[in-house]
């Protein structure tokens, strides 16, 4: 009988491992065999750990001895290649000469290790987490298409069952976009909720950490381990971490769900719009009150995030610019890094003023709604090598289209999750995005879980 343990979600694996019904070694072997079997097509891992089976054996011994560390004990987890790891090399997706990264664990990785997770390998990132394509990774639902990015390796690996969960990072949508494109759940926690110490910086005030998983419950279990104060991350806040599993047991009856009708519903692929409207109607059907709203300031967001992201990235890469390494970056990333010098100081600070205004606008909205729902992306996964797509009958660059609905939550730092909500006419996954108040990851998980449990999207697997 084939070992298909890789098909099981974390929420089912965890109690089975705890009770000795599933072996962490057998589970890790299943994932490694799956990597061997299909990653030649996907290219989602840049490095597979030589220590994974040893870690699984260690976990198995501990569980047998009665020391169960919690739901991640013995669970194979992929790590995006911009998180530092002490036993695996980090490249941040770059092969530019003269760059090296420390062999030490980032705080998120050390939390996973302490929880007993088996770190199975490093998943590919778009170079320095800058892009939305993640070459050479392929989308498991259609190998001719991109997995989106920049956590495209994590999205593809989780979607294809190469690991049970994976870490991602999100500066403008880089967890949620590949989650939507690959049909997984992706949670960008509140800015300050998960430490970014040991994650190669992209843009200090926009970078967020979080998990990609197969289910919402799995996302809650990962967040339970990742969340918490860390003094090494200057942005991290000492906020209490609730029991996220408890949030999942509550219905959405009586909750008020806002639908921001400007910006988030502009120029959508028809199938995306229909799937998201159906998801909203389904939540109304189980007792949520739906309220339409508008946030006019969103019209100015693209200039703001570009000003902050470009100038921050260029500042981070300043030494590489001076050392002549940047011409060795991938052409798209090279251009973006060189371009950052064009953003003026006043433009940068205007963008930071805008963020305050936008956060205040969201605060006002959250006085009358509990969460805000909308599409994660206006488009589904596009063809590799395609730089322009037709959206709403208009040509639009994939760079502009892909992150239109995700970056507002990087500017505001609010928690946001992408959950599968259907497939388009080409069989490609569609994601719905739910965002909440600062540090209310529980609220977004609650609504996401209420939607997920009434649908069978998570039961579908790509045919690879």
């Amino acid at each position: 009988m084939r070992n298909e343990l890789w098909r099981q979600p974390l929420e089912e694996l965890a109690p089975a491992i705890r009770d000795g019904k599933i072996s962490p070694v057998a589970l890790t072997e299943a994932c490694l065999a799956r990597i061997e079997q299909v990653d030649g097509k996907l290219d989602s891992f840049i490095h597979v750990s030589r220590n994974a089976l040893d870690a699984a054996r260690h976990a198995e011994r501990e569980v047998k001895a009665g020391t169960w560390r919690g739901p991640l004990h013995g669970i194979p987890v992929g790590v995006k290649d911009n998180y530092l790891t002490q036993d695996m090399p980090t490249t941040a997706g770059s092969d530019a000469p003269g760059l090296s990264f420390a062999l030490r664990d980032s705080v998120a990785v050390s939390r996973l290790r302490a929880a007993g997770a088996v770190l199975i390998g490093k998943t590919r990132t778009h170079e320095f987490a800058w892009g939305n394509v993640t070459p050479p990774v392929c989308n498991p639902w259609d190998l001719s298409r991109v997995p989106s990015g920049s956590s495209g390796g994590s999205g593809a690996a989780v979607a294809a069952g190469l690991c049970v969960a994976a870490l991602g990072s999100d500066t403008g949508g880089s967890i949620r976009m590949p989650a939507a494109a690959c049909g997984t759940v992706g949670l960008k926690a509140t800015f300050g909720r998960v430490s970014r110490d040991g994650i190669v910086p992209h843009s200090w005030s926009l970078d967020h950490a979080g998990p990609l998983t197969r289910t919402v419950a799995d996302s809650a279990l990962m967040m339970q381990v990742l969340a918490g104060y860390d003094a090494a991350d200057p942005a991290c806040q000492a906020q209490p971490v609730p029991d996220y599993r408890q949030a999942l047991d509550r219905s959405v009856k009586g909750m008020t769900i806002g639908v921001c009708r400007n910006h988030f519903f502009d120029n959508l692929q028809e199938d995306v719009g229909e799937a998201v409207e159906k998801a909203i109607a389904d939540l109304a059907g189980v007792g949520a009150r739906i309220v339409d709203l508008n946030i006019p300031l969103l019209e100015y967001g693209l200039g703001a995030i570009f000003a902050i992201e470009l100038s921050s990235s260029t500042a981070y890469h300043d030494a590489s610019l001076r050392a002549g390494r940047v011409p060795h970056f991938q052409p798209d990333v090279r251009t973006l890094v060189e371009m950052g010098r064009l953003v003026t100081g006043p433009d940068y600070l205007k963008a930071e003023q805008y963020r305050t205004a936008l956060m205040q606008a969201y605060r006002k909205v959250f006085e009358s709604v509990d969460v805000i729902i909308g599409p994660t992306t206006p488009i589904t996964a596009w063809k590799r090598g395609e730089w322009t797509v037709q959206v709403g009958g208009q040509p639009e660059s994939v760079l502009a289209a892909s992150w239109r609905f995700t970056y507002p939550y990087n500017l505001t730092g609010l928690p946001a999750i992408s959950v599968p909500c259907g497939f388009d006419r080409d069989g490609l996954p569609i994601g719905v995005q739910i965002a909440g108040r600062p540090f209310d990851e529980g609220g977004v998980l609650r609504v996401a879980h209420a939607y997920e449990r009434d649908h069978d999207w998570k039961e579908r697997w790509p045919d690879i």
Binding site: S205, A232, P234, Y300, G303, F306, D347, K350, Q353
Partner: protein, 61 residues
């Protein structure tokens, strides 16, 4: 002393003219968006980034 050259001295990228032209062309669409942002009157709004002089005294591991 000659006035600084905006591209070579202020940007200080050391790019050949053709490459500089490519970067400027790629920036054109972004500048349109930043131009919209410049039109907002945010005189009374404090930037989101706040200077925090106690940061070096936080307990680091």
């Amino acid at each position: 002393m000659k006035n600084p050259d905006p591209w070579n001295d202020i940007l200080d990228l050391g790019l050949p003219p053709e490459r500089l032209a490519d970067v400027l062309a790629a920036y054109r669409d972004i500048l349109v968006e930043i131009g919209k942002l410049r039109m907002l009157d945010l005189t009374d709004v404090h930037p989101a980034i706040v200077f925090e002089p106690t940061a070096p005294y936080r307990n680091k591991p």
